[in-house]
């Protein structure tokens, strides 16, 4: 059972800017939660507080009922995929994948064989087996993205965090990786929090979406429910109107060519 809870979480940056206000959010075990909202609404901040990369100003963050506010990032048992991949440029792909395992401490420490086994498994799962000895700069964008995903997954994280992981890819590859990510989630059942500002991505990936605006949670429900019963004007414009517009554009195109 892995459960994540935000309790009255507030984030105020040093310059006094309130990026997240009184956030209450719970993520169930095995759930795929998408944090959706326009640019600058505090999605990344929300995610980075859970990862321990930003301090929580006020309120509590709980993983499995344990308050983690002051736990170091590495101890929280999370995996994170960054928008810019953040692969270690001086290491081979296989070293990139195994780095987290090699860094684990105490009881979690694995034998070299076990580490190799896990790396090979992850590489197979993500179709990277041929590239294990290369350096990150010798890979294509999509491959790098998959290495980043693999690096987060080999440690078998309690929660997988992704901050706009697909925004550096072209449309076709994005579509492909989207399916890949959903497939992996269904296969592994890892609790996942996914940040995006793309409504379609949210609609297709999420079990539930949490829609944010100006640091305030607007609605937290399944994507279809949000579309059918928008909680307020913001959700109506940002989600419903946007999707309707897309559908209309597509229909018009279709009708015109007929």
């Amino acid at each position: 059972m892995v459960q994540v809870e935000y309790k009255n979480v507030t984030k105020t940056y040093e310059d006094g800017f309130e990026a997240v206000k009184e956030l209450n959010l719970d993520i169930k075990d095995g759930e795929f939660l998408v944090l959706l909202g326009p640019s600058g609404c505090g999605k990344s901040t929300t995610l980075r507080m859970l990862a321990g990369l930003e301090e929580v100003t006020d309120g509590d963050i709980l993983i499995d009922g344990l308050k983690v506010n002051h736990l170091p990032s590495g101890a929280r048992g999370l995996g994170m995929v960054f928008q810019s991949y953040a692969l270690y440029p001086h290491m081979t792909i296989s070293d990139n994948l195994s780095f987290g395992l090699r860094m684990s401490k105490g009881e979690e420490k694995l034998s070299t064989e076990e580490i190799n086994k896990r790396v090979i498994e992850a590489a197979e799962m993500l179709d990277l087996s041929d590239h294990l000895d290369k350096k990150p700069k010798e890979l294509s964008g999509g491959q790098r993205q998959r290495v980043a995903l693999g690096r987060a997954l080999v440690r078998q994280p309690k929660v997988l965090l992704m901050d706009e992981p697909l925004s550096n890819l072209d449309a076709e590859l994005r579509h492909q990786m989207r399916n890949e990510i959903r497939r992996l989630h269904d296969e592994l059942g890892t609790t996942t929090i996914y940040v995006t500002h793309d409504q379609i991505e949210a609609m297709t990936l999420a079990d539930r979406v949490a829609i944010l605006d100006k640091g305030i949670l607007q609605q937290h429900t399944s994507p279809l429910d949000a579309y059918n019963n928008p909680a307020n004007e913001f959700v109506r414009t940002f989600l419903c109107r946007h999707i309707d517009d897309l559908v209309e554009t597509a229909n018009n195109l279709f009708n015109d060519t007929k």
Binding site: A51, G52, L53, P72, S73, G74, A75, L78, G79, M80, F82, S84, A86, L87, Y88, P89, H90, F99, G100, M103, S104, K105, K137, R151, A152, R155
Partner: protein
């Protein structure tokens, strides 16, 4: 405009292009060479030289365009004139390699321009309207020849640079391997290993070498030990007084070394660090540190923050993030910094001369200087020792070359 017309405008034979470009440097060099005539107080040749420059300039501005047969012919006359002036100057001077070289800056451009402007492609181009296929052929020919021409030209320039840099070295080397302590003499006229064997078998040289090595390596190590964490902290952490202290670091650099010499001496004397390695190491670190810290900070700034965040999520603590991710990525920059601080200490003279006054505490530069004064200008020994002193540095540079280039360009391009 039709395609053919576009091509016509774009086609200029490579000979004319080359002349257009390289007559300018030739002109500038000839002007500079006039100073030699002035120094020699050779008025006839000075006038001839000025005339040559003027004609060269005239040639450059008169180079023919398409259909300009007349200008081509004038250019030919001017070129012949240049060759004539050059030859006249050459004949009037006593023959030597240097004079030949000097006049070739007039004669060779002149001859080239004579040959090229009268060559068939240029004659055709200035003579009549070219057909499309002729232009196509010409463009292809240009493409094939152009890189060769500019390669030759840039090599000529580079060879000059090499000669200018290498000449003093050759001279020193010659002094070192010539018998006796004379400075004159033709290069390579006689050979003797006496100076080298004298230096290498004497005790002082090895003592000085050891001193220099201890001081330089000490500076390098101590400097890096301080500069790496300092640079990292300046790059990554915000703390009060950060900007002020970054600036304060530069403060020492703003005074000429000689101003702080006396205070330095007094401080070292009070601390009892005169005639010691540690005193010099400390003093050198003070001067080398600011540069090292700033360079390393600049490099650390280019290491993306997300990399460190990823490492933290992978379970590294702050120290491991630094040693396992940031440090390996910064090796080129660190190598450059190490080399700089090593060299600064290796070559320093003034402080070493002031602080360490006993013969067995001399560093190499001070020891070398003492060769000149005490034994009545032992130029041969001095030259031999200079070579021996620069040898380790030269080797170091060869070894670090790849790193150096990487490190120096590191801030510019994000890999």
């Amino acid at each position: 405009m039709t395609n053919a017309n576009v091509m016509r405008i774009w086609y200029v034979p490579v000979e004319v292009l080359t002349l257009k470009r390289w007559l300018i440097p030739a002109f500038i060099i000839n002007i500079l060479l006039l100073t030699i005539d002035v120094l020699r107080e050779d008025n006839n040749n000075l006038i001839l030289g000025i005339l040559g420059c003027i004609v060269l300039f005239g040639l450059r501005s008169n180079l023919p365009e398409m259909f300009q047969r007349k200008r081509r012919d004038i250019s030919l006359i001017l070129s012949a004139l240049i060759v004539g002036i050059g030859t006249l100057r050459l004949i009037s001077l006593e023959f030597s390699i240097f004079n030949l070289w000097m006049q070739s800056w007039l004669i060779i451009p002149g001859i080239l321009s004579l040959i090229w402007l009268s060559s068939k492609p240029v004659s055709v181009w200035t003579g009549r309207e070219l057909s499309t296929s002729a232009i196509e052929y010409g463009l292809k020919r240009n493409y094939e020849l152009k890189s060769n021409f500019s390669k030759i030209a840039s090599h000529i320039i580079l060879i000059h640079f090499v000669i200018v840099t290498v000449f003093p070295l050759v001279w020193i080397f010659d002094i070192a391997i010539s018998p006796g302590n004379a400075l004159g003499g033709e290069i390579g006229d006689s050979f003797s290993g006496e100076h080298f064997s004298k230096i290498l078998s004497g005790d002082s040289f090895w003592v000085w070498m050891t001193n220099s090595l201890i001081v330089s390596l000490g500076t390098c190590l101590l400097g890096l030990t301080i500069a790496i964490p300092a640079g990292y902290a300046f790059s990554r952490y915000k703390f009060s007084g950060r900007d002020v202290s970054m600036f304060a670091f530069l403060l020492v650099q703003m005074f000429p070394g000689i101003i702080i010499l006396v205070p330095y001496f007094l401080v070292m004397k009070t601390l009892g660090l005169l005639n010691s390695h540690l005193g010099l190491i400390l003093a050198y670190c003070v001067t080398a540190l600011p540069l090292c810290v700033w360079m390393l900070k600049g490099f650390f700034d280019t290491v993306p923050r997300e990399l460190e965040e990823a490492a933290m999520l992978d379970g590294c603590n702050q120290f491991q993030v630094f040693t396992k991710v940031v440090l390996p990525l910064s090796l080129p920059a660190i190598a450059v910094t190490a080399l700089f601080s090593f060299l600064a200490a290796w070559n320093e003279f003034l402080l070493a001369l002031t602080f360490n006054t006993s013969n067995d505490m001399y560093t190499l530069p001070v020891g070398l200087a003492s060769l000149i004064s005490s034994t009545g200008q032992a130029w041969g020994d001095f030259a031999a020792a200079s070579i021996l002193v620069s040898l380790p540095v030269a080797l170091l540079f060869l070894f670090f070359q790849k790193f150096l280039i990487e490190g120096l360009s590191a801030g510019g391009v994000k890999g």
